[in-house]
């Protein structure tokens, strides 16, 4: 298993709503859960499929034929950015981006809003694709053919499933983009007091 640090960028109504995600212990929910309010355990299995993952990654806004609603509102997956910062790959592609950049672009609703909330969290990834297993996230690098430098895409996009527990979120950050002043800045950082470091999962046993 791989423990991957990621960032989720969200646009929320206000500071209180942003802090609530960690303070009220709700964590980050998938849009499906947020849309319907309550989700059925059996249905989770039905929705965690490779076909739905493909729709999530490649056709996010299409109508989901199973419910007649936009897939974006009914997805069981949560997109996260992990960044691509490997030196050898960079020398081949001339492209590096840290997770923060993608999270900010999504969090500002692609530049439409001036505020974004970023959540720094960790997820457990399986070394192989395991879409139907809810407890592990997926790397989605191989799901399409057209991506920039697909031959070298080593990391960068991750999807979590159903929800990210609040104790896997280290902090929430509020960022402001003042476009006319050319200024992108961190306003505040709200650490999660209940955060559990991923080192707890380490398989290295200390010598006593």
């Amino acid at each position: 298993m791989i423990i991957q640090w990621c960032i989720k960028g969200l646009n929320l109504d206000d500071d209180a709503a942003a802090r609530d995600i960690v303070d009220c212990r709700g964590g980050i929910l998938c849009n499906w859960w947020r849309t319907v309010g309550r989700i059925d355990t059996a249905l989770r299995r039905e929705r965690l499929t490779s076909a739905n993952l493909n729709v999530h990654v490649n056709h996010f806004t299409v109508i989901d034929p199973s419910c007649g609603k936009p897939f974006s509102t009914m997805t069981p997956f949560i997109s996260l950015s992990a960044g691509t910062v490997e030196r050898d790959a960079a020398a081949r592609t001339n492209l590096v981006h840290r997770a923060r950049r993608t999270a900010l672009w999504f969090g500002t609703e692609f530049g439409r809003r001036s505020i974004a909330f970023l959540y720094l969290c960790w997820v457990v990834l399986a070394p192989r694709q395991a879409v139907e297993i809810e407890g592990v996230g997926e790397e989605v690098r191989d799901l399409n053919t057209y991506r920039r430098y697909s031959a070298f895409q080593t990391e960068g996009e991750v999807v979590a499933k159903i929800w990210i527990p609040d104790n896997q979120i280290r902090a929430c950050e509020k960022w402001t983009w003042d476009r006319s002043a050319h200024r992108l800045a961190l306003d505040w950082c709200h650490p999660n007091q209940r955060f559990t470091p991923p080192e707890r999962l380490s398989n290295v046993r200390e010598l006593l």
């Binding site: 990654v57 490649n58 056709h59 996010f60 806004t61 974006s72 910062v85 030196r87 050898d88 960079a90 020398a91 081949r92 592609t93 001339n94 492209l95 590096v96 981006h97 840290r98 950049r101 993608t102 900010l104 672009w105 999504f106 500002t108 692609f110 530049g111 439409r112 399409n144 053919t145 057209y146 991506r147 920039r148 430098y149 697909s150 031959a151 983009w177 476009r179 050319h182 200024r183 992108l184 800045a185």
Partner: protein
Amino acid sequence: MSFRHLEAMQLEAERVRAAADFLDDYGRLCVHDLQQLESRTSRTTESGSMIGPVDDDQRWAIQADAASAFREAAQWALCFDPARARDLLDLAGSLFSQLGYSFGSYLRVLANRWVDLPVREFMRDLDGLASLYGLRERSADIVIPEPLNHPQQQAYLMLACIGSPVVADQLSNRLGQILESSPHREGVTPVGAQGTPIRRYWEIATALFQQQSGAAALVADHVAAMARSQAEAVELAMSNTHLWRNAASAVDVGNIDMAGIAAIGIGRFGGEAMRGALDEQMRLMGDRGRMLMEIALEFAESTPHDDY
């Protein structure tokens, strides 16, 4: 103008401008972070703290992130504001160059804002490459920047050298020798956003360098092939409307390889000859490919050219 092409590709002008602004400002944020990091390091060094120097990986990641952000901002700006694109390419190129990437030199040559062209550095890199190919004996005084071990960086070094009249003139012997004897003449290593085989870049570089009869047509033929490949990628990316329309797709519209090669071609062959050869190719091309070529060509034609 290019905004017309963007609209035809279902991209709103405002979204494209916002993407360029955002990436520009994000790049500035990274540069600011980098300065903060450096100042923290110097403070801890002065106070004799036990804290070690700034993690080199951290510094590298921030700088490479900044360079990439400026580069991508430039690719968007290339579609609507060539002068701004050149400023951004120069910024990106400068940061990449500091990291030892020949791609950075290529961007700076393309931006044409380089005041003191470092001919000695180009010479050092060409000597390094010659020693890698066994054209020169390896010696301790030849230091090869680590990224130059990658074929992709070697291809951009060739284009950067040929794109600069001073370097192409002063180092022409070295350039000619490397172009003719490199294994990349037959290479299949993917280069650039569309994973173009390196042999294509090498043929382009050789044609631009040698300027033989029919060279402009050959270069145009290669640029057209790159445009066709990019057009297919764009078409596929457009099916993901959410990412595409929000300028969040991992496929570029402004192609700095095509734009750069066309710009160098104009410098080497003259505007009329290069435009004529590209027009010939565009006549045979589908709508999407033609638009991508026109965006690149508009940028190339707006670039001020130094005399060879």
